[in-house]
């Protein structure tokens, strides 16, 4: 059984149970309400986006979902099970993968080994459940697992296997980050500004990649500044401002929502635009 097939047997039927649910989630730092009562649902096989101006709480929300920040209030449910008190390191085993705002590759490992770390996480989680696959992977040890080959194929990294991160362009390094997350064969993929610092061509590449993974049934949550990219990539967009959800729905509609435009541009600009 190839890994591509392993991917497809994770496809959930449309309208299936949500992958992740946030119920009235709040994160306060002292008096600062970074996230204040967010309720949302992420479904399998869809790309969700979060937009919002700087400081609107997007990154804090990601930190809350990945359990790096303690919730002040509210509930997190992964596949219907609460994960409020699950250690951050156990999330990977539950099928949650993420990329970071900045490139975080290990400088002394080759691209192959960097991506293998993702597959290791998957294998370790499988090993804890004592499946045959886990033992086989463990015995194979240093070899390249099929998940790595597959992830590098999807991110178009073939030929880069023996390169070190410092030898590659920034855009390529970001692809390695995504490959590492894909190699975990996650159910939920969180992408924190995956195209920051990329040019238009590279952005289009990433957009295409995310969409190809959607068709494989993966649930994705994307945080991005580039609104055009969000419109082109996402199925469902959440707009945040001052720690709250102010709109959600189809990307084009959300972007045209007056509250969203106001949050981004300020009331006066909007009135000015309307006056013309």
């Amino acid at each position: 059984m190839s890994t591509a097939a392993a991917h497809t047997d994770r496809v959930d039927a449309p309208g299936a149970a949500p992958v992740l649910e946030l119920r009235d989630v709040a994160v306060h730092f002292g008096g600062v309400k970074a996230v204040d009562g967010v309720t949302l649902t992420l479904e399998p096989g869809r790309i969700h986006g979060i937009i919002g101006p700087n400081g609107s709480g997007k990154s804090t929300l990601i930190a809350a979902i990945t359990r790096l920040t303690r919730l002040t209030r509210g509930e997190l449910l992964l596949d219907g099970k609460p994960i409020d008190d699950v250690a951050p390191s156990r999330l990977a085993g539950l099928g949650v993968a993420r990329t970071f705002q900045t490139v975080r590759l290990l400088p002394d490992l080759t691209v192959r080994a960097n991506v293998q770390i993702g597959a290791d996480a998957r294998a370790a989680a499988a090993g804890q459940r004592r499946t045959r696959r886990g033992w086989r992977d463990r015995l194979r040890g240093g070899g390249t697992s099929p998940a790595v080959v597959e992830a590098m194929r999807r991110t178009r990294l073939e030929g880069f296997e023996d390169f070190y991160p410092a030898e590659m362009s920034y855009g390529t390094q970001r692809r390695v980050e995504i490959a590492r997350a894909i190699a975990m064969q996650p159910r939920l993929l969180l992408l924190d500004e995956p195209t920051a610092g990329m040019n238009q061509t590279e952005r289009a590449e990433i957009s295409a990649l995310l969409q190809s993974m959607r068709s494989a049934g993966l649930c994705q949550l994307l945080v991005e500044h580039d609104v055009q990219m969000m419109i082109d990539t996402c199925d469902h967009v959440f707009a945040m401002n001052s720690g709250r959800l102010i709109a959600e729905g189809a990307p084009r509609e959300v972007v045209q929502d007056p509250r969203v435009q106001e949050a981004y541009l300020g009331r006066r600009w909007r009135e000015h635009a309307r006056g013309q």
Partner: protein, 340 residues
């Protein structure tokens, strides 16, 4: 060979115990735990094995086994206690731990021989046994640098937050570092006291930390190879430097200072960079032979590719125009690759 061994027996034994001592500080360092507790474990190991043999008439191997288990447990307890400290604070807390051990040794009265230490610790311990035990420990450490475990250790050191997102329990790895450090330090101390037959408070003071650190700094902190290089150099250097005579201490100091400043990854780091350079040259030559490698604007090298990733002529945002990008990507990927 046997002639060499018998004339240099003391140096060989010192190399082995020095190597294990260096490993006891290098192993935690490799996991990002800046702990010098290995030197304290060495002290516990030396005194522990000495007391077991001298006062309770244990055989060499049972004494070693018992002290190694004890130092591993002490390592675990210490780890549980100070695990939440990091950086310089952790380093200094472990230095304090080491120095407390030596003060305890001075104040141990009859049991530890106070300021004179223990003498006449004679046991049935052979150099061959010492070599075997060292090799076993070395092999275990070397294994932890390979495969999945090696990658995970690397991740824990370089980026704990990334490690957590990759399903690695950083806390557990850090605790394991304390346990391994305790066991290695304990083994080093126990074996050394059994071949030397004596140990005193001065053998386990601040100088021990400096010795272990210099071995790693000069040899290299990232691999057991570095510890071997460091242990060999600093055990044999004083003999070789006898040629320079009276200034050997100074030369020794200059070597350490230069390595600490200019070679942060030690001699092993230089060797590893060299190997990587050769690998890169070979790889690039292979690619050049295939004739398709081109340079990026930013100097990065691109591997052979069929064509522009966005499909036909680089459509800026594929969802707005052109073929279905997901489809295009899969089509591209399905195409046989040139040169790979």
């Amino acid at each position: 060979m046997s002639g060499f061994l018998s004339t240099n027996l003391v140096l060989v034994q010192s190399t082995l115990s020095g190597l294990l001592l260096a490993l006891s500080i290098q192993v935690p360092l490799r996991m990002g735990v800046f702990s010098f507790a290995g030197a304290g474990s060495y002290g516990i190991g030396a005194y522990g094995a000495g007391i077991l043999v001298l006062r309770y008439e244990y055989g060499a191997l049972p004494a070693i086994a018992l002290t190694v288990v004890a130092t591993a447990v002490v390592g675990l307890l210490l780890g549980l206690l100070i695990n939440r400290l990091a950086g310089l604070y952790l380093a200094m807390a472990t230095v304090a731990f080491d120095l407390i051990i030596s003060v305890v040794a001075i104040n141990g009265g009859e049991l530890t021989g106070a300021s004179t230490g223990l003498y006449g610790i004679i046991a049935d311990f052979t150099t061959a046994q010492m070599v075997v035990l060292t090799l076993v420990a070395l092999a275990l450490v070397a294994l932890s640098e390979r495969g999945r475990l090696g990658r995970r250790v690397e991740t824990v050191r370089e980026d704990p937050e990334l490690a957590a997102s990759m399903g690695i329990s950083v806390r557990r790895y850090r605790l394991a570092a304390f346990v391994a450090s305790g066991a290695l330090g304990g083994l080093a101390g126990a074996m050394n006291v059994l071949v030397r037959s004596t140990v005193g408070p001065l053998d386990i003071g601040f100088g021990l930390i400096v010795l272990a650190l210099t071995m790693i700094v000069v040899g290299g902190s990232r691999s057991w190879v570095g510890a071997v290089i460091g242990a060999v150099i600093f055990t044999w250097l004083p003999d070789l430097l006898a040629v320079i005579g009276e200034w050997q201490e100074l030369v020794y100091g200059v070597i350490v200072a230069v390595a600490a400043i200019y070679l942060p990854r030690g001699i092993h780091g230089v060797l590893a960079d060299g190997v990587r350079w050769v690998q890169r040259k070979r790889r690039d030559r292979r690619a050049a032979a295939a004739g398709v490698v081109e340079e990026d604007e930013d100097g990065g090298v691109r591997p052979p590719e069929g064509e522009d990733l966005t499909g036909e002529g680089g459509v800026p945002l594929p969802a707005r125009a052109g073929p279905d990008p997901a489809h295009a990507l899969d089509q591209l990927a399905a195409r046989p690759q040139a040169g790979s």
